[in-house]
């Protein structure tokens, strides 16, 4: 269709009525002129009119034909379908309400959760070809963990070794303050290798980025690159920012460029706003870059080199380099390649599985909502089968009937979609709040993007088609013959059992969802009731990081000691202490201990977790002292220092009475055990008891950055405020948002589990509610249809019991089939989510049976009302109706 044609068509559409009239006028003129001509030829007046008509043909048909030439046929058909759909929806408000309600809830929840799946699993770094990036790690046999970091010397040799990688970059991040004149802002700084920007394919939006020349000499080039976000936030997007001097960690730097919008370092779920070269390790870590393992490495897989081959080559080269450096490397300390498409510190590993699990649950619920609507609609369309049959008999094409059903279902899903899109924003905000500590990392990534929009559109259209297609097919099979023959078409309904299957499917899915929700809720409960080994109640903790501020060793120690003293003298404080480890956040320190007679089969020495504590730590944390004594303020770090070990340490490494036993740890520090304390959880809630070694952080050993704990008698709110005041009094530059109660911190550690438990319970309940509504609806309709039959039965003497039995019998068929299918489904889903569970068998038969019983109960309730109503059928009015 050419443009001119389209334009003429549109004009026609706009003045359709006028054109119709003109056409009619034109044809009338023709007829009259022909008639008068015929009269002139001698025909009688009336005869002439008829003859003219005969010669002209079918006036109405011709007019319609002309009309069809112009019109957008499909558009008119669509508008007719939409009008009919709207009228149908208005005529059955309860169905429309249920459809819009359940679909919009389902669509909103799935869109919200998909936003998180997108942010956590699907998104990649905004760099060139992120899918081929890999993160290099190394297994550490001694400490049973993965090493993330390597020295700069290793990096230099590794980047030219035979690795099957197209390039390797190194980076490390550090929290610092950006100081510009008297303004100060906390940011995450990234120290990067010279090839960093080139390898990632990032181009500057202003100035230049860092390159190899900036990274050559230690403490040489003072160039730094800032992110678009920092440029806008702190420097008002001023183009004069290039060349500006800022101070990072006491060192002046010069801004040489601004990275493009969206790029915030080589870590998708982190915000790294400033990049300087690795040549500045001394300034930020206090030692030269070759001296310690601090750099994480990202490589780019060469095209055509399979991952396994690259991994083998990397393992060989990496080991050779480390051995060349004189490091002791065990043969099982393999180098590993991890997915690097999201850069460093990706949350995919930790949150990927939970959000995917949630997405599948919410997907099932959405599917159930569709099945539910399809079932209800099927039952209803049995009542309308007469209408369909009439339409077919009158010559409606089957396609026209299907189209009408699908128009209505798509219209409903589109309306629900509008509502859902609006609701989804609130769901996302709510989910973010529940994500707690991950909120900051994810907030910028959960905003709607084309991916989310695409998913949403697909979900809306998919659910519309899904619940419309079965009723449409049912109508398509409508056979008009019975209607034509007998005027009654009730018989046609008997064959339509599809809705029963749909209800059974819903019950099966509900059993599985209820069971899953139960498992996840029980997991959360189990995790909550784990014996931590310490009492977090009424303990407030502050992170004090003087290392970031311009303190010398001596002044930091002085400030730390004063802070501890003042915390102890707070009116509400029972006790206060310092430590260098924040429990249950994954942070850790570990040392090798050398105890005669203890080494594993391969001769590797045993290891232990390690915490530096001030005196009073055990009292503050509520860790019981089992033997010996706590450190005192007089404890001195002498040649043979004093240490305290936990029970697990004593049990595993020290035979007999542990008190007084001597051993060495780290390099060759000789220590003697003065006390034994209860075993606490250390890194994670789910870990097995681990040996922990406590060394005193007293005199000369105060760390520059530490955690300050205060136990109080009062509710922690007041102590929180007082502690903030204390920090302000110590140094106004200390951040106040790192003061929190231990309980809040533990809650944050369980955020993912709580999210899972809560959402799966909510979605499970929604599923059960939907199944109940579906069952109720289907039974109501079918008993209503059987009113006459029931009337006859009552009239010939059926008892109430048998009527109830009849209705419940119909229901029981669906419920039993549903539960029979649901139990194995539940067991299977339990197996699927096993990795998310704690302290529970995945396939617990009694628990599954419980979920089944619950569904039976719910189904019975849903069936009760229709059954009761059936018994109230008055035989006289039921029979008179026909």
């Amino acid at each position: 269709m050419s443009i001119g044609e389209l334009w003429r068509r549109l004009q026609h559409l706009a003045r359709r009525d006028q054109i119709e009239n003109e056409m009619e006028e034109e044809m009338r003129l023709h007829l009259e002129l022909r008639a008068s001509r015929l009269r002139e030829e001698g025909l009688a007046a009336t005869e002439a009119v008829y003859a003219a008509r005969r010669r002209f043909g079918n006036v109405t048909g011709l007019r319609e034909q002309s009309h069809d030439i112009w019109a957008f046929r499909w558009l008119e058909r669509l508008s007719a379908d939409v009008k009919l759909a709207l009228r149908n929806s208005r005529k059955s408000p309860s169905f429309t309400l249920l459809a819009v309600g359940s679909l919009s809830l389902g669509l909103a929840a799935s869109t919200a959760i998909f936003s998180f799946v997108n942010a956590i699993v699907l998104k990649t770094l905004p760099v060139q070809d992120a899918s081929r990036l890999v993160v290099l790690r190394q297994r550490n046999e001694t400490f049973h963990m993965e090493n993330c970091c390597f020295s700069h010397a290793f990096f230099r040799e590794f980047s030219v070794a035979d690795t099957g990688l197209d390039g390797v970059l190194a980076a490390s991040s550090n929290d610092v303050d950006v100081v510009d004149g008297d303004r100060r802002q906390a940011v995450t700084l990234e120290l990067v290798s010279g090839n960093y920007f080139r390898m990632l394919g990032v181009r500057p939006q202003l100035g230049r980025l860092l390159d190899e020349s900036d990274d050559r000499v230690e403490n040489g080039s003072r160039a730094c690159v800032i992110s678009d976000r920092l440029w806008r936030g702190m420097f008002g997007a001023s183009p004069g920012v290039v060349g500006r001097r800022i101070v990072l960690e006491k060192e002046p730097f010069q801004i040489v460029g601004v990275s493009p919008p969206g790029f915030e370092g080589a870590a998708l779920h982190d915000r790294r706003d400033v990049q300087v070269s690795t040549a500045w390790a001394q300034a930020f870590y206090g030692t030269t870059r070759d001296n310690f393992r601090w750099l994480m490495l990202i490589g780019r897989l060469r095209q055509g080199v399979p991952l396994a081959e690259a991994a083998a080559r990397i393992d060989r080269s990496g080991m050779a380099i480390e051995r060349g450096h004189g490091l002791q490397v065990s043969d099982s300390d393999h180098f590993l390649l991890r997915d690097g498409s999201q850069g460093f510190d990706s949350r995919k590993e930790k949150l990927g599985k939970p959000v995917l699990l949630l997405l599948s649950i919410v997907g099932l619920v959405l599917f159930m909502a569709c099945a539910n609507l399809a079932a209800l609609w099927l039952v209803r369309s049995l009542e309308r089968v007469r209408e369909s049959a009439t339409r077919v008999a009158l010559g409606a094409t089957r396609w026209a009937i299907i189209r009408q059903f699908l128009t209505q279902s798509l219209l409903l899903s589109a309306a629900s979609g509008l509502l859902a899109w609006w609701m989804a924003q609130f769901f996302v905000a709510g989910l973010l709040r529940m994500m707690d500590t991950e909120r900051e990392a994810l907030a910028q990534h959960v905003k709607p993007d084309p991916m989310v929009l695409g998913f949403f559109a697909l979900a809306v259209i998919g659910s519309g088609l899904l619940f419309g297609v079965l009723p449409a097919l049912r109508a398509w099979r409508t056979d008009p013959m019975p209607l034509v023959q007998s005027g009654s078409i009730h018989a046609a309904g008997k064959r339509a059992g599809a809705y029963r299957v749909l209800i059974a499917v819903q019950i099966a899915v509900s059993v599985a969802l209820v069971f899953t929700a139960g498992l996840l809720a029980q997991t959360l409960k189990n995790l909550r009731s784990i014996d931590l080994g310490f009492r977090p109640q009424n303990v407030v903790q502050a992170e004090v990081d003087l290392g970031r501020l311009d303190y010398s060793e001596a002044s930091a120690e002085e400030a730390m000691r004063n802070l501890l003293l003042r915390a102890r003298s707070l009116p509400e404080a029972q006790s206060a202490s310092l430590s260098n480890i924040n429990l249950l956040t994954g942070s850790m320190a570990a040392v090798v201990v050398r105890i005669p007679g203890h080494a594993d089969a391969k001769g590797a020495p045993p290891t232990s977790y390690f915490t530096k504590v001030s005196s009073g730590y055990f009292r503050t944390m509520g860790i019981p002292l089992r033997a010996g004594s706590d450190f005192t303020t007089q404890t001195r770090a002498g040649s043979e220092g004093e240490v305290i070990v936990n029970e697990q340490f004593a049990r595993r490494y020290l035979e007999g009475d542990p008190l007084g036993k001597a051993f060495t740890y780290g390099g060759s520090r000789k220590v003697r055990v003065v006390g034994v304390v209860g075993t606490t959880k250390y890194r994670w809630l789910r870990e097995d008891p681990q040996p922990i070694l406590y060394v005193p952080a007293i005199d000369g050993a105060f760390p520059k950055s530490a955690f300050l704990q205060v136990r109080s008698t009062e509710p922690p709110e007041r102590v929180l405020a007082q502690l903030r005041g204390l920090l302000q009094g110590t140094d106004v530059r200390l951040p106040l948002d790192r003061v929190t109660t231990l309980e809040a911190q533990l809650d944050a550690a369980l955020a993912a589990e709580r999210l899972l438990a809560l959402l799966s319970t909510a979605l499970g309940s929604l599923a059960v509610a939907l199944a109940a509504i579906g069952l109720y609806g289907v039974l109501s309709y079918s008993t209503a249809r059987r009113t006459r039959e029931i009337g006859i039965r009552v009239a010939i003497g059926a008892q109430r019991g048998s009527i109830i039995g009849m209705v419940l019998g119909e229901c029981a068929w669906m419920v039993i089939a549903g539960i029979a299918a649901g139990l194995p489904l539940a067991m299977f889903s339990g197996k699927l989510i096993q990795s998310q569970l704690y302290g529970l068998p995945a396939a617990d038969l009694p628990a599954t049976a419980l979920a089944g019983c619950f569904l039976v109960l719910v189904s019975a309730c849903a069936a009760a009302l229709p059954a009761w109503r059936a018994t109230r059928v008055d035989p006289v009015s039921a029979l008179r109706y026909e």
Binding site: E22, E25, L29, H30, R55, N58, L62, S66, I69
Partner: protein, 97 residues
């Protein structure tokens, strides 16, 4: 083609005149339903081959007058060329032996 040719010869005409003219010129050989002229006219309007304007007949009745547009003239030439081509071919085939 017939309609286009008729309009090309006579300039402006209304529906009845066109039908009449075609019938007379073909000496009543081509007898079709006169009404089918109108959908055909509409199709040509849509294609842009014709222009239509309302005017008065000799009997002072309102009527829609059609005339060829430049595009319509082009189309007519095309059709005539095509027709000649076909009719020559048929003519050759039917030559007396």
């Amino acid at each position: 083609m017939l309609i286009l040719q008729t309009l090309a010869r006579h300039g402006e005409m209304h529906g009845f005149e066109i039908a009449d003219s075609i019938q007379q010129l073909s000496a009543e050989v081509l007898q079709v339903e006169e009404g089918s002229l109108y959908p055909a006219l509409q199709r040509m309007l849509l294609k842009g081959w014709l222009k239509a304007e309302w005017g008065k007949t000799s009997g002072n009745r309102r009527a829609r007058y059609y005339r060829l547009s430049p595009a319509g003239r082009g189309r007519l030439d095309e059709e005539i060329a095509q027709y000649r081509c076909v009719s020559q071919a048929i003519g050759r085939i039917l030559q007396p032996v």
